[in-house]
Amino acid sequence: MTDPPSVVFVVDDDPSIRRSLTNLLRSVGFRVETFPTAIDYLKSSQIEGPGCLVVDVRLPDMSGLDLQREVARAAAPRPIVFITGHGDIPMAVHAIKGGAVEFLTKPFREQDLLDAIRRAIDLDRHMRLARVELADLQGRFALLSPRECEVFEHVVAGLPNKQIAAALSLSEATVKVHRGQVMQKMGAGSLPDLVTMRAKLGAGHRKS
């Protein structure tokens, strides 16, 4: 599966900063898109592609922190690197708690920014992979019959076949068949695999 190349999305109201960041990031080989306001960014069509955000905390109309909340609600939230003209500790704490990759005070060392952007792009890539993997897992989980689901839950809870059979009022042989089906449909090679998959699916995925 080939992803389109990552893009650094810069949101800053200062034209010098937008232009110079574009210059710097382009010289390193990144693709860059800039926006003067948070609203302009949110309205842009490229909201789904891979990449990260570089955002000035202080923006007209909608602040960088408001944008962070908005981005977090998206299906594919992009990691954010904050930049600011003045170090404000409460603001930085807020941003980092909200999941920001980094909070840099202008003028920052170029290496710090590039490192942060690389980390953000790596994070984005991982999150993307994880999302694909999860979607795949959810698809497989959806193929299980209600009975197989029950057996699945008991298996990952660590119960031996005999007890599962007793709990579900089935014969041990039937439980064995279901268990084989679960392993096959889920594509699990071993019991630990299956347990990991259950954990990735999370508590929300329980068919009743």
Partner: protein, 568 residues
């Protein structure tokens, strides 16, 4: 008895010193604005008003005053207590305790008043004289604080005394001008009605002479005559009062005895100028009194000619400007303090303003290095980067230059300048602050305005004050755009008007004048001095500053300045 205002005092540690200093600066600012605040206050109310301010600023238990309010030497006496009590018994007791000083002019007043007067222990007193050589009276402040009077207390009392001296001098000068004009009108009317007999002519002339002599006699100013060699030929009571020499002592002596040694070149130069028929106006210099005290005076010297037009001597009018000068220096200092304070409030925005171009330079610099290191070097990109670095460096240095001008402490210099330039500069300086507060600042500047004359920094300070006030007024507005308009227009033929209109809550018409009073503030952390200081600065420049309420939301505060070439 409440001790608000004094309870934070003490001598245990640097924190208290800092608080004391902070408090002192606040009180100094308040006192320095008094002359402006007294605008329109009847002269008779001034001593009480000053006493009330001093009660607060030095935390006194009472302030007693005895002042000459008018040129006729009549004195008024009174006392104000901190707790507002006005009981005659208390005043009487106080008067008795102070009588050795008040009546005898005995300066050896005990530093501590007897117990009887104080509610709780002894009172320490400080005497502050008003006017040169206490010529205008004195006041006495008393406090139960054991360290009273501190150096700061003394300074506050002195500034208060200066303020009252300046305003009384000013009022007296106005009064005597009015009286002498009245006298002249009566005398001239008599002259015109008379038929042209010799006797009546003589009567008219002698009336005129008597009128002139009376002015010389009663003028508070020094008026003296001298020959072209500098020998004194006449010496009025004003000269005697200021310099300490009697007419008998001075007539026939060279005027140079009044000149301090380091200014001895002055007299020959002035005399030379007079011999050529020239005059000297508003020349500020120093003179020495009989007692050896150096005083600041302003001189006006004009040649006197006989009936044939030949030069026979010169007249000198001198005025004591020591207080005025001290006050002017205090005002320059005050303006500086309040500028620094404003810039402190704006520090966050200013840091942002400087950091933006710096950050851009760092970015472009890094990019430039990479373009040069690439194979083959991307020279066009590198060149472009450097071009932007230069532009941003210039932008940063402009911001710094603007701030440095505002923070510099310099004497007031009046120069002609373009009012629109000033508005644009100020808007640029506050651009970051307006953006931070999500305020949209619009400027509407009439083209080709005439230049105005003034201290550009002070006028910019006024404009910054008005804009910062407007920003504050809109900080809690969320239901409408936070819009701020700065407009400049020609006002009449010889003035320029600059108006700042906000969209804040506005001010009800009955409060329109109150906002200009010292200490009046609607802000939790405000000193309530900004508009009072601004108004006094603008009036000092011959302009006016006032506010206009609107039907809807918002307030306009505007000022005028005389345009260049049109003023006196």
């Amino acid at each position: 008895m409440s001790l608000t205002g004094t309870e934070r005092r003490g001598h245990n540690g640097g924190q208290n010193d800092a608080l004391e200093l902070q408090r002192g600066v606040r009180e100094l600012i308040a006192l320095s604005a008094l002359t402006a605040a007294w605008h329109g206050t009847p002269t008779a109310k001034i001593p009480e008003s000053l006493s009330d301010v001093l009660l607060k600023s030095v935390g006194a238990a009472f302030v007693f005053f005895r002042l000459k309010l008018t040129a006729d030497g009549r004195e008024v006496e009174g006392v104000r207590f901190r707790d507002g009590s006005t009981g005659p018994a208390r005043s009487e007791a106080l008067r008795a305790a102070l009588s050795s000083y008040v009546d005898g002019g005995d300066e050896a007043l005990p530093p501590v008043l007897p117990d009887a007067l104080a509610d709780d222990g002894t009172l320490r007193i400080a005497v502050q004289r008003v006017g040169s050589d206490a010529g205008m009276g004195f006041f006495v402040a008393a406090s139960e604080r054991p360290d009273f009077p501190t150096e700061m207390d003394r300074l506050l009392l002195e500034v208060g005394a200066n303020q009252v001296a300046v305003i009384l001098q000013h009022r007296q000068a106005e009064q005597s001008l009015k009286q002498s004009e009245e006298g002249r009108r009566v005398a001239l009317a008599a002259g015109e009605d008379a038929t042209r007999t010799k006797d009546e002519f003589i009567t008219t002339v002698s009336n005129e002479l008597r009128w002139a002599a009376s002015i010389v006699e009663h003028s508070g100013d020094v008026i003296l005559g001298k020959t072209l060699d500098g020998i004194v030929t006449s010496w009025n009571p004003g000269a005697e009062k200021l310099y300490g020499y009697t007419a008998a002592e001075m007539i026939g002596r060279p005027v140079s005895v009044l000149v301090p040694p380091d200014r001895h070149d002055e007299v020959p130069q002035i005399l030379e100028r007079l011999r050529r028929g020239g005059a000297v106006t508003d020349y500020e210099t120093q003179r020495v009194t009989k007692a050896g005290r150096q005083i600041d005076v302003s001189l006006r010297i004009s040649p006197i000619r006989d009936s044939s037009g030949a030069l026979i001597g010169a007249s000198t009018i001198a005025r004591d400007i020591s207080e005025r000068k001290a006050l002017r220096q205090a005002e320059v200092k005050l303006a500086h303090i309040s500028r620094v304070a404003t810039m402190g409030e704006l520090a966050t925005s200013i840091a942002h303003e400087v950091n933006q171009p710096l950050a851009a330079i760092v970015n472009d610099g890094g990019a430039c290095l990479r373009w040069l290191q690439s194979h083959p070097p991307a020279l066009d990109d590198a060149r472009e980067s450097v071009r932007h670095m230069i532009a941003d460096a210039n932008r940063a240095s402009h911001v710094i230059a603007r701030i440095r001008t505002l923070l510099a402490r310099q004497p007031s210099i009046k120069v002609p300048f373009d009012p629109n330039d000033l508005v644009r500069d100020t808007a640029a300086l506050l651009q970051s602050e307006t953006a931070r507060l999500a305020v949209i600042l619009r400027t509407d500047l009439e083209a080709d305005l005439p230049y105005v004359v003034g201290d550009r920094i002070q006028i910019q300070q006024v404009l910054i004050n008005l804009i910062v006030n407007a920003l504050d007024a809109m900080s809690s507005i969320d239901d409408r755009p936070r819009s701020l308009a700065v407009r400049s227009v020609r006002g009449g033929s010889s003035t320029v008007l600059v108006a700042v209109r906000d969209a804040g809550a506005g001010v009800t018409p009955d409060l329109l004048d109150r906002i200009f009073e010292a200490f009046y503030t609607t802000k939790a952390d405000g000193l309530g001095m900004g508009l009072a200081i601004s108004r006094s600065m603008i009036e000092e420049h011959g302009g006016h500053l006032w506010a206009i309420a609107h039907d809807g939301p918002g307030l306009t505060v505007q000022f005028t300045m005389p345009s260049a070439g049109e003023e006196g």
